[in-house]
Symmetry: D2
Amino acid sequence: MTFTVAVAGASGYAGGELLRLLAEHPDFEITTVTAHSHAGEPLIAVHPHLRSLRDLVLTETSPETLSGHDIVFVALPHGKSGELTAHLPEHTLVVDCGADHRLESGDDWAAFYSGEHHGAWAYGVPELIVGAGRQRDHLVGARRIAAPGCNASTVELSLAPGVAAGVIEATDIVSVLAVGPSGAGKSLKTHLLAAEILGSANPYAVGGTHRHIPEIAQGLRWAGADAVTLSFTPVIVPMARGILATSTARLVPGTTPEQVRAAWEDAYADETFVQLLPDGSVPRTADVLGANTALMSVTVDEAAGRVVVVTAVDNLAKGTAGAAIQSANIALGLPEAMGLTVNGVAP
Amino acid sequence: MTFTVAVAGASGYAGGELLRLLAEHPDFEITTVTAHSHAGEPLIAVHPHLRSLRDLVLTETSPETLSGHDIVFVALPHGKSGELTAHLPEHTLVVDCGADHRLESGDDWAAFYSGEHHGAWAYGVPELIVGAGRQRDHLVGARRIAAPGCNASTVELSLAPGVAAGVIEATDIVSVLAVGPSGAGKSLKTHLLAAEILGSANPYAVGGTHRHIPEIAQGLRWAGADAVTLSFTPVIVPMARGILATSTARLVPGTTPEQVRAAWEDAYADETFVQLLPDGSVPRTADVLGANTALMSVTVDEAAGRVVVVTAVDNLAKGTAGAAIQSANIALGLPEAMGLTVNGVAP
Amino acid sequence: MTFTVAVAGASGYAGGELLRLLAEHPDFEITTVTAHSHAGEPLIAVHPHLRSLRDLVLTETSPETLSGHDIVFVALPHGKSGELTAHLPEHTLVVDCGADHRLESGDDWAAFYSGEHHGAWAYGVPELIVGAGRQRDHLVGARRIAAPGCNASTVELSLAPGVAAGVIEATDIVSVLAVGPSGAGKSLKTHLLAAEILGSANPYAVGGTHRHIPEIAQGLRWAGADAVTLSFTPVIVPMARGILATSTARLVPGTTPEQVRAAWEDAYADETFVQLLPDGSVPRTADVLGANTALMSVTVDEAAGRVVVVTAVDNLAKGTAGAAIQSANIALGLPEAMGLTVNGVAP
Amino acid sequence: MTFTVAVAGASGYAGGELLRLLAEHPDFEITTVTAHSHAGEPLIAVHPHLRSLRDLVLTETSPETLSGHDIVFVALPHGKSGELTAHLPEHTLVVDCGADHRLESGDDWAAFYSGEHHGAWAYGVPELIVGAGRQRDHLVGARRIAAPGCNASTVELSLAPGVAAGVIEATDIVSVLAVGPSGAGKSLKTHLLAAEILGSANPYAVGGTHRHIPEIAQGLRWAGADAVTLSFTPVIVPMARGILATSTARLVPGTTPEQVRAAWEDAYADETFVQLLPDGSVPRTADVLGANTALMSVTVDEAAGRVVVVTAVDNLAKGTAGAAIQSANIALGLPEAMGLTVNGVAP
């Protein structure tokens, strides 16, 4: 069976990655790609890497151009998808890669975003531990899905096993992330120019202002945390893609390293797209480039009294577009891994 | 007055940076450069960037070739300088850029290094708060100086003001560093190949094994900490040089953001080479490339209950060779900044 | 139908890329992977990005371990495959990614390589114009194939259309290539260290010594050139993968820009993996990352009297492993594009 | 003696590099820095690497703010300096880093630029062979100087010795340059975003349209060429700074390799800032980072009948700001090398 697909906001980086992955999906057929300032141009003029899609032409983003598809992926800046998607039929599967439908709490929304809060949709991180089950369970049959923030899902997947198993505390988490600039979008800002980023490590949103903080807290509460306290610092480094998240949390007193390791092993033993490395190995972002894989290590630092979880993710793939497609597969009853790869492009 | 200078281990990255900086020093004259496998070659064959030193030829590293100089800078792998420098006259100023003479505690040495412990020399981080004074005081007139570990001094300078002022706790520090591969030396290892590092963020020494951990703890104890607990994770990122250290520590309950900021401002207001950025600005490694500057921001994250200090340092300059020369200036009674620059090469 | 596959030299970069692509091939089953110093290790310990192949273990490279497969891909340093492959049965499809079987001329071999010349196999650049046909014709049914040198095939594909159509001269070609260091292999040499390559552009083999020069001349003679004269300069730049070849040749007097463009359009209009960009567009290596695509522009510089062809190729994919698999598909009568993608991973 | 200095266009990359170098100049005192949209801001808010200049504040660019200085450096986009500098007194030394005063020929200007042609000033490449002398001779006492285009001066210096000595032909030159994106300025364009440039090699201005082409031809005519024909292709590669120019020209028949080498050796033996490497060595851009050095190799490819000259330059230093200051030193009768360094910051 073939599902027809539209991608709104196809000209950006998330849109491009959606299309790159969708082009490999055997059951999805891309029929419409929309954009704003590039409407009317061939898709390939904007995304010259998408050679197999060279017959597609960008059209205007509107309810009209998007309607009539089985699936609509939305990759718009936050604040843009709420109203637009309200016009789409209920039976259409809508996957929003923006932030508009991730947060349940209106207070969280108001504190970190602006404009109207549109409520939360089914959250597109299937492997996340939620209560006694997985977030996957909430995606089955869903018709409205919110793909996660790339940094947020990376940290959530890093720590949820320890929170759920009661081996780490959620009240004094510290996460520092090395991130590639594609995560900031195709945005004409001085600090995103190549000359500013080549040869440099550049932090931003230091001190608790990053918008993914409430999303992470929400995810870890779903995993079982009573309260979450998180120090979160992203650092842009000179790689086009990738997130390398180093997350540490205090070890619950009395916990053994074996119990820690078991918590993560149990959590992800059956997962295709979240893979725990053997003791002594650590992940690298190049190993997940273009893949739908979160590659993870967990280490107990007994002297520091902390568990250190390092996770590598491709921000555009598993962090955004891959998560969106994986979630769509689940929603539609397709094999979860359809059209996705676990292998990175390295070196 | 001109001091004659020898550099041992001149063929490596630290040796090269010493020479680049020494070449600009008005009172130092480089007369001898030594190496091992490259002995007999022109210096410029190994360091083609040192155009002004094209008449120098590398000789063997030995007590004989090093003796007879006013100053000897040693840039050898750890374990190599202890015996060698024992043969140098007491009145010669010896600055060791290796690890052999940094740690006071033989237990620390045994736990993180191997081989004989040679004891500690005057530690080459002049701005470090030590008791009621500065480490500078211990460098005046010294004839044996241990230049610091690049990551270590970066974290020490980041946190010492808060420890000394009693506004942060030293018992649950978390530091994550984005570092360039030159910090690992000119070493033929697969994980240091360009193809392994380009486009990737690669952690190492995860979980409390990095050798700079006891050095940081020692520095913070000097600054006033009773005990130090530190989770420390370095991540190699694709820039030749640079350290961007994100260090967080728990805020002492009841402390105000103003008190925090005042602690750092007071500590570094009179320092040339440690500069605190205004509130809202954050440092980038490109801004200190080639400079002897530690550029720093301090931010209070009240929701997380942590102070976040981000510091950018050039690992080869202020992190190693610049600190060595700055310390030598102090030891010899020269102006502390002689031959050094605060300005980075950016973009 | 499923073909069993062995990969010799699986631990290097070319071997890793072969495996990454083979893992996606619906009709190939990887059963054996061999190496030398890493024999006995899990494949994934050497190539942590190949998550789907985590059950494979590296064995010793020998005629015994390689025999009994339908297809053997060989990714060994030059000089190593000649003897080894002589022991494999005639009916086995052997694809050599090394240089041993590329050159027809023993004199060329002797002038640029060393050791015994093993003669030439069917050359794995299907799209190359050869006389009145294509190199593809020589691959049908072949059981011994030499995958091309990555730089060589890039320049051959760049210029063959103009040579064959008689619109450019082959006697004063100038090619300058920006190349990623993975093309030099996973080799422990100082000039391949990350600190040497980050932030720098580093030429090598300047002045006519590069081993791909006779291979390019051979390919352009096949395309119709009487004699080939080529100035060839590769420059390593800080990207893990990729070749951006700028090749210029003198315009045959009297030729119009339209005739030039027609030569290239006619040559590649029906090709999947060699794509000519519209007038005014130029290729970028990021657009072919991981893809089996050669992306090309052709421009007439009338003032200079030269045609400028710029071609982007992923040195490990279309430049080596992709060409090997594409050629194997043709040899075995499978669809030429099976298991390969035209889309790059960008940004 | 101290000269007062103003820098117009101080907020861009060329302006920042002028200031970085001027800050080290013992006889120059920076008193005014001007900009447009950043007027009113502290200089250090725009250039956080210029720590020693933290007391300077940007003012509006106007004849009024620039007048009253001994020297005015102008770093504005082309077309902006002609009118502005017309208002400055004749006795003021004005050094224009833009393109407005480089080309003697109004036809060249009209063909490659737009707007009014303001005529040519003394060209700021002191080492360039001009007739029987050097361009240096034309800079002595000059009060209007045009700093060169970075790519242009690199190619001119590469080839002038061979042209002047009659060992190469100027009628079929091919230059391909790997360049860092800082050469394109701090300009908000999509193709200059980090995500577009990291991991990629991106050509532009292919086929004879680059504005430095007529400037190179002019320089080589000064060196003795009757006519110049040049194929010129720049390729942006992922390094913040640097130009690696590979320039080839046909060997004049009958010329020996020794004659070729002698031409370049004779030309640059007495030069501080243009250095010829020994036979067999090739330059790298990292070796001249931040330096006022052009590092050069010359190689005869007898099989190709071409001389290959590879030259590394820092586009912002020797390519622009360093050349400007070196030329100003000459104009004012100061030591030519004052305030400039030959040593690069590597690795």
